[in-house]
C-alpha cells in the first residue's frame, strides 16, 4: 500500500487532506475559535483579519468557525450516505446477481433502472423538496439515489465472480448459499466497491452542498458549506470572502476524495493504467 501512495502523489495528497478533514470533523466543536452561531452585528461582513482569519458573515458570525463546523456536517452526511447506500446497494445488487432469474430482473428493472431514469441531482431535489428539510431526510434521500450505482456495480461483479472456480469449490465442499455469498463472493468484489465509495463520498458531499445551497439541505443555524455559499451570493460585491472560503473548503474536500478514488480506479483497472 505504501508503494501505491509513493507512486501516486496526488492520491497521497488526497489521503493526507482527508485525514486532516476527519480530524477537523471529529474535533470541530472543541477547536472552533468562536461560537459559530453567535451573532455580532457591529462586525458584520468584515473581511479577513488576525482575529477572524476568514472574516465575518452578514450576521457577524466567524466564517472560520462555521467552515470548520461545516466540515463536520459534510463528512457526516458523506460518510452516512456512503455507508447506507453502499450496504443497501451491494446487498441488493449482489443478491440479484447471485440469485439470478426473477430476483435479478426485479432489481435491475425496478430498482436500478427506475433510479437511473432520473438525473441524480434532480431526484435528490425532488425527494427532499417533497419529504421536507432535515439532515435525516437528506441522508435518506441521498442514500436511496446512491444505492443504484453500488447495486449495478455489485451485480456486475457478482455475475463475474460467481462462476469462478473458488466459488464452485466452496459449493462443492458443501457451503450453504448464504455462506458462499457472504464469505466468498462478497469479499472478492470489495475492491471496486471501495473505489466507488471514495468517488461516492465526493458525490454525496457535493449533493449535500447543492441541496443546502438551494435551501433544501441542512437547516440553519447549523453551518453547511452549501448554505454559506448561498448566503454569500447576495454579498458578492461587498464581502466576497463569504463565498471564497466555503468554496475552497468544499472543492478541496471533493478533490481529495476524487484524487484517491481516481488513483484506486487506475490501480484496479489495468486497461486504464495502460492508457
Amino acid at each position: 500500500m505504501s508503494s501505491f501512495f509513493r507512486r501516486n502523489k496526488l492520491a497521497a495528497l488526497g489521503l493526507l487532506i482527508i485525514a486532516f478533514l476527519t480530524f477537523v470533523a471529529l474535533l470541530a466543536p472543541w477547536i472552533v475559535p468562536y461560537d459559530p452561531s453567535v451573532q455580532n452585528l457591529p462586525t458584520r461582513l468584515e473581511g479577513p483579519s488576525w482575529d477572524h482569519p476568514f472574516g465575518n458573515d452578514e450576521l457577524g458570525r466567524d466564517i472560520l468557525s462555521r467552515v470548520l463546523l461545516g466540515t463536520r456536517v459534510s463528512m457526516r452526511v458523506g460518510a452516512m450516505v456512503v455507508l447506507l447506500s453502499g450496504i443497501m446497494g451491494v446487498l441488493l445488487g449482489g443478491f440479484a446477481g447471485y440469485a439470478g432469474g426473477k430476483a435479478d430482473t426485479f432489481v435491475t428493472v425496478i430498482v436500478i433502472n427506475s433510479l437511473m431514469a432520473f438525473p441524480g441531482i434532480l431526484l435528490a431535489i425532488a425527494l427532499v423538496a417533497f419529504l421536507g428539510p432535515g439532515i435525516d431526510r437528506l441522508i435518506f434521500a441521498l442514500s436511496v439515489i446512491g444505492l443504484a450505482g453500488y447495486a449495478r456495480l455489485a451485480r456486475g461483479q457478482v455475475l463475474k465472480v460467481k462462476t469462478m472456480e473458488f466459488v464452485e469449490a466452496a459449493r462443492a465442499l458443501g457451503a450453504s448459499g448464504p455462506r458462499v455469498f457472504f464469505l466468498h463472493v462478497l469479499p472478492s468484489i470489495i475492491q471496486p466497491i471501495l473505489v466507488q465509495a471514495s468517488i461516492g463520498m465526493a458525490a454525496a458531499i457535493l449533493m449535500e452542498a447543492s441541496l443546502s445551497f438551494l435551501g433544501l439541505g441542512i437547516a440553519p443555524p447549523t453551518p453547511s458549506w452549501g448554505a454559506m455559499l448561498n448566503d454569500g451570493r447576495s454579498h458578492l460585491f461587498d464581502a466576497p470572502h463569504m463565498v471564497v472560503f466555503p468554496s475552497v473548503a468544499l472543492v478541496l474536500t471533493v478533490l481529495s476524495f476524487n484524487f484517491l478514488g481516481d488513483a484506486f480506479r487506475d490501480w484496479l483497472d489495468p486497461k486504464s493504467l495502460k492508457s
Binding site: 425496478i110 427506475s114 438525473p119 434532480l122 425532488a126 448561498n230 466576497p240 463565498v243 492508457s275
Partner: protein
C-alpha cells in the same frame, strides 16, 4: 435500422412509465397533509377542502393516477396553485431559455475539451498530459455554485467585462454557460483522451503514417474522427444531466429558465408546478438518451447488432 429504432423505443416506454408514476407519487411523500403544507400553518379548513378538491386529492389513489396520466397524454400538467396558471404553459415559456443555456454549455465545453483531450493523448505521460489530468479532476470537483460566484467575482466585479445576471445577448450567456461547461469539459476531456489513445494505436494509423501522411493529417483526419465517436455518448448522457444542473446555475445567474422555475416552485411549495418541472426535465433526459443511442447507431452501425 427500423428494427433497432422500434426495439429502442419499446425499451424506453417502461422507463417513461416508471418516471411518470414516481413523479405522480411524489406529492404523496409529503409528510402529513400536502395541502396544509402548501397553504401554510393555520389555513382555514374550507380553504384546505377547496384546494384538496381542486387538485383531486380527495379522490381514491387509483382515480387520481388515472386522471393524472389522462391529463399528461393531452399535455395537461395541471394548474399552479399559486397563480392559477397552466403548468404546461409556464414550463413552455421557460423551457427555451434552459435549452439555449444547455446548448451553449455543450458548445463551450467542446471548444475546450476536444483540443485538451487530443493534446493529453498525443503528449501522454508528459507535463501537458498531467496538467490536463489535474485540471479535469478540478473540473469534476468544482460544483456550479462555487464556480458561478467566483466567475462573477472575476469577470463581472473585478474586470467589469460581463453582466452579473439575467438573459439577453451573448454577453449574458457566457458566464452561466461557462459555469455549466466546466464539469462537462472535464469529463469530455478525459473521454477524448482515452478514446484518442486507443485510436492512435490502431493499424490504420500505422498505415496512414507509413504512406507518408503528415502526422497532423493522420491525427485530425483519421484518429480524431474515430476518436470522437464515443464522445457522442458521453455528451448525450451529460446533456441530460446538464438540464438538471441548470437548476443551480439558473438560480445563481437569475436565468429565467426551467431550473429557476423549479426553485421558485420549491420555495412557494407549489407542488403541481414542481411535479411538472421534474417530469419535464426527466422526460427530456430520457429523450436525449434515446436520441443519443439513435445518433450513435447511425455513426457506428455495429451498435445496432449488439
Amino acid at each position: 435500422m427500423a428494427a433497432f429504432l422500434v426495439r429502442r423505443l419499446l425499451l424506453t416506454l417502461p422507463v417513461v412509465w416508471i418516471v411518470v408514476t414516481l413523479v405522480f407519487a411524489l406529492i404523496h411523500l409529503v409528510p402529513g397533509d400536502p395541502i396544509a403544507q402548501m397553504l401554510g400553518e393555520g389555513a382555514p379548513a374550507p380553504e384546505i377542502q377547496r384546494l384538496r378538491h381542486e387538485l383531486g386529492l380527495d379522490q381514491p389513489l387509483l382515480a387520481q393516477y388515472k386522471t393524472y396520466v389522462a391529463g399528461l397524454v393531452k399535455g395537461d400538467l395541471g394548474v399552479s396553485f399559486r397563480n392559477q396558471q397552466s403548468v404546461s404553459k409556464a414550463i413552455a415559456e421557460r423551457f427555451p431559455a434552459t435549452i439555449e443555456l444547455t446548448i451553449a454549455a455543450i458548445v463551450v465545453s467542446l471548444i475546450f475539451a476536444v483540443p485538451a483531450g487530443v493534446v493529453a493523448a498525443v503528449r501522454r505521460g508528459r507535463l501537458a498530459d498531467k496538467a490536463i489530468g489535474v485540471f479535469s479532476l478540478f473540473g469534476v470537483s468544482m460544483p456550479n455554485f462555487a464556480i458561478g460566484p467566483l466567475l462573477i467575482l472575476l469577470f463581472s466585479i473585478a474586470l467589469g467585462l460581463l453582466p452579473v445576471s439575467g438573459r439577453g445577448g451573448i454577453s449574458h450567456l457566457l458566464l452561466p454557460a461557462g459555469t455549466m461547461a466546466l464539469g462537462l469539459a472535464a469529463i469530455t476531456t478525459r473521454m477524448v483522451r482515452s478514446s484518442m489513445l486507443e485510436e492512435l494505436q490502431q493499424d490504420y494509423m500505422r498505415t496512414a503514417r507509413a504512406k507518408g501522411l503528415p502526422e497532423r493529417t493522420a491525427l485530425f483526419k483519421h484518429a480524431l474522427r474515430n476518436g470522437l465517436l464515443p464522445v457522442v455518448t458521453i455528451l448525450g448522457l451529460q446533456a441530460g444531466a446538464l438540464l438538471a444542473g441548470a437548476i443551480i446555475t439558473e438560480t445563481i445567474f437569475a436565468w429565467p429558465g426551467l431550473g429557476r422555475l423549479t426553485v421558485q416552485a420549491i420555495n412557494a411549495r407549489d407542488y403541481p408546478l414542481l411535479q411538472g418541472c421534474i417530469l419535464t426535465i426527466s422526460l427530456t433526459y430520457i429523450a436525449i438518451n434515446l436520441l443519443t443511442d439513435v445518433v450513435y447507431s447511425v455513426i457506428d452501425p455495429r451498435i445496432r447488432y449488439e
